[in-house]
Symmetry: C2
Subunit: 330 residues, 2 copies
Amino acid sequence: MDWGTNLWDQNDVIDKHTQAGLDLLERYIKFVKERTEIEQNYAKQLRNMTKKYSKRGSKEELECKFSNHASFQEILNELGDYAGQRELIAENMTANISDKLTKYLQDLKQERKTHLSDMKKAQQNLESSFKHLESIKKRFAKEWAEADKATQQADKLENDNNNSKIDVDKAKNHALARMRTAEECRNSYAAELQKYNKEQNSFYYTEIPLIFNKLQDMDERRIRQLAEGYCQFSHIEKNVLPIISKCLEGIAAAGTKIDEKKDSKLLIEQYKSGFERPADVEFEDYSQGVKPSNSESALNPLKGRKHKIFKKHKITQAEKHMVLFMFSMI
Amino acid sequence: MDWGTNLWDQNDVIDKHTQAGLDLLERYIKFVKERTEIEQNYAKQLRNMTKKYSKRGSKEELECKFSNHASFQEILNELGDYAGQRELIAENMTANISDKLTKYLQDLKQERKTHLSDMKKAQQNLESSFKHLESIKKRFAKEWAEADKATQQADKLENDNNNSKIDVDKAKNHALARMRTAEECRNSYAAELQKYNKEQNSFYYTEIPLIFNKLQDMDERRIRQLAEGYCQFSHIEKNVLPIISKCLEGIAAAGTKIDEKKDSKLLIEQYKSGFERPADVEFEDYSQGVKPSNSESALNPLKGRKHKIFKKHKITQAEKHMVLFMFSMI
């Protein structure tokens, strides 16, 4: 089923159809470029977000020892990789679809233009040949009519006895000359007609089919390229899905490995002072004379601080523990 | 390993640590909300694009009979479903993470506030009890000193023979009375000390541990909820991946089933005129008298059109085919 033989008289249809085909190709390229921008924008937003929430500075370094803080940081890292995959989609769509098809579209536009102008040329040639044939045919008709008239006149003179033999011969010769010219026109008309029919034949049976089939082949190549572009649109994203799944698994893993008991224990390890809880306050029996109640204060690790706080009066055991405790309140 | 016994003197550490925990929870909620917005925006852009490129109108209906046009429409439909899945991610992140954790954060903030204020109250009670004990101790010390002085004075008078027995007895009685008061002060100090030590003991061994362990339990609940939120962040997207894969498969299928030969054939079926290609132009022999060259023009399907174009002169067979052909050029 080829256009050349089946649509030989549908030049306008083929013109419009091949144009619509290129329009679709162009529209698909635009579409992929738009998707690419959306994808880049999406990746950029994800990336900025992960940067924004990532921890920096020593205070956060410390917090990151706790599993529930550390896991959030891991999630941010995974999401950063995720964004990288979306960027990859955008890059591959540009390289493997938009750029390729844009180049291809230019070639097709040029090729189509060439075929259509060849068509126009062939048509114009046939039309001018036809006009030429017509003029030659008319000349033959006119010449024959005049030759016919001359012959009739010569016969008329011959049949009238009042005319001299000389006049009759003159008319007969004139008619004969006329007839000879008419015959020549008849022959060149016949020759021109044969030439034209050969031309018309090659136009309808060779030139048109050849050009229309080239256009059909061009259109089918366009469709194959477009189909390939459609498939790429899916494959490019399908190719990154496994890595995207890995990122999601990494996020889930970061959530699963959190251990709240470990985090509580870590706080103890980091901040346990090791001090004993305060003993009972001793009875200071002034009836036996006051003992130096800060006897063992030299051993007290908080002694230094203590003096800063209680300058004015002598420190008792109980006060020392008060200090110890109140420090923990600051 | 509990905070109550191990961090009994690290109130400020526990205060800061639990605050940092709630800050992390709050930061994670913000983070998820931001991701949700990015996801919604991404889905919206994809949706608008598919709408923008979707075909409407009868001309496009016609083109959509061609597989390469139809497949593009299918890709747009699949991408619409794809966008729907991204919207679903956004919705589920809001419902299953942001909203849940926001409510939970409010409760935890309230709970923490309560525990810390209980702590402050207990501390203030102990401090005031201690001050009270101190005042009673000082009174005992003062009273005892005076009783001691009175006793020494009475002894001095007795050893001096110049004094009357009356004066000596008077002094002795005074000293005895002083001593009795001092003894009373000594007893109430002893009682107060015992009371205070009981209080101090329950503060360090019961109240603080209880409150600190409540804060630890609260912090561990927060961590479990946060960990669940982390996992949800992954699961919500993982759950839509199979449907997203289906969309991508649908797109690939649309690209694969395109048949350029079928499309070429369809154009023929739609536009084939069925006319024969022009026969040779006939020889019109005026020497035999002109034949009516449009003898069979009554059968010519283009007769109607024909007359519109060539009004002025008689139509020949060749001209008729010229018309037939030139129509296909319009």
